[in-house]
């Protein structure tokens, strides 16, 4: 599931040789799925896009400085960077209130109305979960990853992932029965 079915090896080689325009091929091939992932994890498309953009900058620097080892595909590697970027952003969001985006209405987001409402609902519903639990839950129940795949992304054992999922579901059930 995390192995995105994309063959971007040629684009990667060109970027490594200094062809910046080839990076656009990587962006065009991966941005839809990565923005969807980060928007679901953050419950907000604007924040999601910022995290994906930072991931692309990291990827570009890694490719041009020969720090990308190629053990996984560039698409899978980006998926992992974005997922961990979301957890970091959730942690810092927990320390300070969520910023109000003054440009929110100006963003030309072609997402459907249903999709935007779903993100808002996800954010409100999962807001009180700790970042690691929220991430594990979204990756499993919304992105459809297995516990082993989530463990690889979050650098956790399968057991640790299962534990976070059980706690997250229990917290949501508790909130539901309390309301």
């Amino acid at each position: 599931m995390t192995q995105l079915p994309l063959d971007l090896d040629d684009a990667v080689s060109r970027v490594k040789r200094g062809d910046i325009s080839a990076f656009r091929l990587i962006v065009d091939a991966t941005s839809e799925r990565l923005v969807r992932l980060s928007s679901r994890m953050m419950g907000d498309q604007t924040e999601g896009e910022d995290i994906v953009q930072e991931a692309y900058v990291k990827a570009y620097e890694a490719l041009t400085n020969d720090r990308f080892d190629g053990r996984s595909s560039i698409a899978t590697w980006l998926y992992r960077v974005v997922a961990n970027g979301c957890i970091d952003a959730m942690r810092s969001r927990a320390r300070r209130p969520k910023a109000v985006d003054v440009h929110e209405n100006a963003v030309v987001a072609p997402s459907t109305v249903d999709a935007r409402l779903a993100l808002e609902e996800l954010d409100g519903w999962l807001n009180e979960l700790p970042p690691e639990q929220r991430a594990a839950l979204v990756l499993q129940a919304v992105e459809g990853l297995s516990s082993r795949e989530i463990g690889e992304i979050l650098d956790l054992t399968e057991g640790a992932v299962e534990q976070r999922l059980v706690r997250a579901r229990a917290a949501l059930r508790e909130r539901r029965s309390a309301s």
């Binding site: 200094g18 910046i20 990076f23 656009r24 962006v27 065009d28 941005s31 839809e32 923005v35 969807r36 928007s39 679901r40 498309q45 999601g48 896009e49 994906v52 953009q53 692309y56 900058v57 570009y60 620097e61 041009t64 963003v107 030309v108 987001a109 072609p110 997402s111 459907t112 249903d114 999709a115 935007r116 409402l117 779903a118 993100l119 609902e121 996800l122 519903w125 839950l137 129940a141 919304v142 459809g144 579901r169 949501l172 059930r173 539901r176």
Partner: protein, 93 residues
């Protein structure tokens, strides 16, 4: 028995499939990469090459000025010596 949490997550998964990047997202990424901070417009190596070239030109100019100054100064001193030798009073034996 149905699980309301699971059902709600599944509903939100399907609804959020319609999330698409902003129309200018790809352009924004490429602009960021090409900016002086992270892209190819200004590379650290290029910066140092330009700096060292400018530094070399500056040092060469200073060296030329110093050489000219020393040359003029030594010429003046030689003229003074010659002048003073002419000015040596004749000893009346």
């Amino acid at each position: 028995m149905s699980d309301p949490t699971k059902e709600r997550l599944e509903r939100l998964r399907r609804a959020s499939l319609g999330v698409r990047p902003s129309a200018d997202f790809g352009d924004r990424v490429m602009t960021t990469l090409a900016s002086p901070r992270s892209g190819e417009v200004v590379r650290p190596s290029g910066f140092w090459q330009v700096t060292s070239r400018l530094r070399f030109v500056g040092i060469a100019a200073i060296a030329a000025i110093v050489t000219l100054f020393v040359a003029i100064k030594s010429d003046v001193e030689t003229d003074d010596l010659v002048a003073s030798s002419y000015a040596t009073p004749e000893v009346d034996w």
